[in-house]
Amino acid sequence: MAPAKTRPIQKFSEATAKCSAQAAAYGKCIVADYNSVHKDKCVNEFIKLKDCYLRASKK
């Protein structure tokens, strides 16, 4: 039997797990006032999170 393929979501999940600090910072920014969330409210935190994720997923 062929080895089981790694699903994209698993790779995604592993890469995201390496960015817990950035994810927490982003989460805190949203949760600080979640009744008035608008587009790009936490864009700076998100860019940091995404950069981290992109770096982690390339390794």
């Binding site: 817990s20 994810a23 979640y34 969330v37």
Partner: protein, 371 residues
């Protein structure tokens, strides 16, 4: 004005009268009646749901692993066949076991998924109690179980497992779970576990269940409702709101506990019991939760949802929010499944009925004060 509004004259005739009404408020309909042949309110795409179930059945290993919720709910649901015995025991402090002496010749499991109810029925010693000897499996009180589901793959997934030999089970693939192909008065018990929350026309299906039951026979059902997956719902909403500036439905609208009693009553059931149970499952991250939901065949099937996968940006954002807003101290994340259990009995002349109002001759206050 009222005479005009109520009259059955055509609109033009009425408008020519002395007092004119603006057209927009002009309404000649006296009663709110649904016109014949009107489409039912559609929320879920039944075909998508069918496809999702068939797909999970293609990967039986993963699907079996993700059956933990359905197996747990099925066993809690079948426990309700014992429930009355337990209550009586507590009251009288006597060993009365299996007070429902009733035997169920023909039982329907509507929306059987992978026959989780059948598996729960053959469990050994379903009522573990150190004071009592082991009780026989519930299946001894059932002659025939009809397991019906629209997904053939999922229904037959475990058809070669051992539990099939211990129970007289007939699998029946339904074309559509919303129109039941059974004769009226043909079942002694109808059960349904974690399927009703995908039904578009819940009042209609409950009415059909009521009619296929024999007189004085129960329907016992469990469905997801209320605050189920509120953590996932809120984090995806916040993430989409922040990343994309708008939201699309990802978690189904669900019936609330307070609606279910009314629904059962409307369908003609008597002696209702509705209760809820929260099952909270911890996951390592929100992706594990989503993968498991998919493997359960419980993916999103709302009509009018955004097609295609959720974008990675939103997934990334929602993971951070989920953990921050709802996460456990140990780093895992909780997911709440609120199960609504309902029991209703088909009406019968021999059933106990509430006495007429004002017919009581004992004052409850006296009894309570004596205590």
């Amino acid at each position: 004005m009222s005479g005009c509004a109520r009259s059955l004259f055509p609109a033009g005739r009425c408008l020519s009268s002395s007092r004119q009404l603006p057209i927009s408020t002009f309404n000649r309909r006296a009663f709110a009646v649904q016109s014949g042949g009107a489409p039912r309110f559609q929320v879920f795409n039944r075909r998508t749901k069918w496809l999702q179930k068939e797909r999970t059945a293609l990967n039986p290993e993963e699907s079996r692993v993700a059956d933990y919720l359905k197996d747990e709910v099925a066993s809690r649901l079948t426990e309700r066949l014992l429930r009355r015995a337990v209550a009586v025991k507590k009251l009288t402090n006597r060993l009365t076991r299996q007070d429902i002496k009733r035997h169920f010749p023909k039982v329907l499991d509507l929306g059987a998924n992978s026959c989780n109810i059948a598996r729960a029925l053959v469990r050994k010693n379903p009522d573990p109690d150190p004071d009592l000897p082991a009780s026989p499996p519930l299946v001894t009180r059932i002659s025939e179980l009809v397991a019906a589901d629209s997904s053939e793959g999922l229904l037959y997934r475990d058809a070669d497992h051992d539990f099939n030999k211990q129970i007289n089970i007939i699998r029946q693939v339904l074309d559509d779970e919303e129109s039941l192909p059974f004769e009226p008065n043909s079942f002694d018990l109808v059960m349904s576990s974690l399927s009703l929350h995908w039904i578009n026309d819940l009042p209609g299906v409950l009415t059909q269940i009521n009619s296929i039951l024999k007189e004085d026979c129960p329907f016992i059902g469990a469905m997801l409702g209320g605050d189920t997956l509120f953590e996932l719902r809120t984090s995806l909403q916040l993430a989409e709101q922040e990343r994309r500036g708008g939201i699309s439905p990802h978690v189904s609208p669900l019936a609330d506990v307070k609606d279910v009693g009314g629904l059962l009553q409307k369908a003609g059931f008597k002696m209702l019991t509705v209760d809820i149970d929260d099952i909270i499952v911890d996951y390592p991250d929100s992706f594990a939760l989503m993968q498991d939901l998919q493997a359960m065949g419980e993916g999103n099937a709302i009509l009018g949802r955004e097609m295609g996968p959720i974008s990675r940006d939103v997934l990334l954002a929602s993971e951070g929010i989920y953990r921050e807003l709802h996460g456990n101290p140990d780093g895992s994340i909780p997911a709440t499944f609120r199960i609504i259990y309902m029991i209703g009995w088909r009406e019968s002349a021999t059933q106990i009925k509430p006495l007429a109002r004002g017919s009581g001759d004992i004052n409850l206050k006296d009894i309570l004060e004596q205590k």
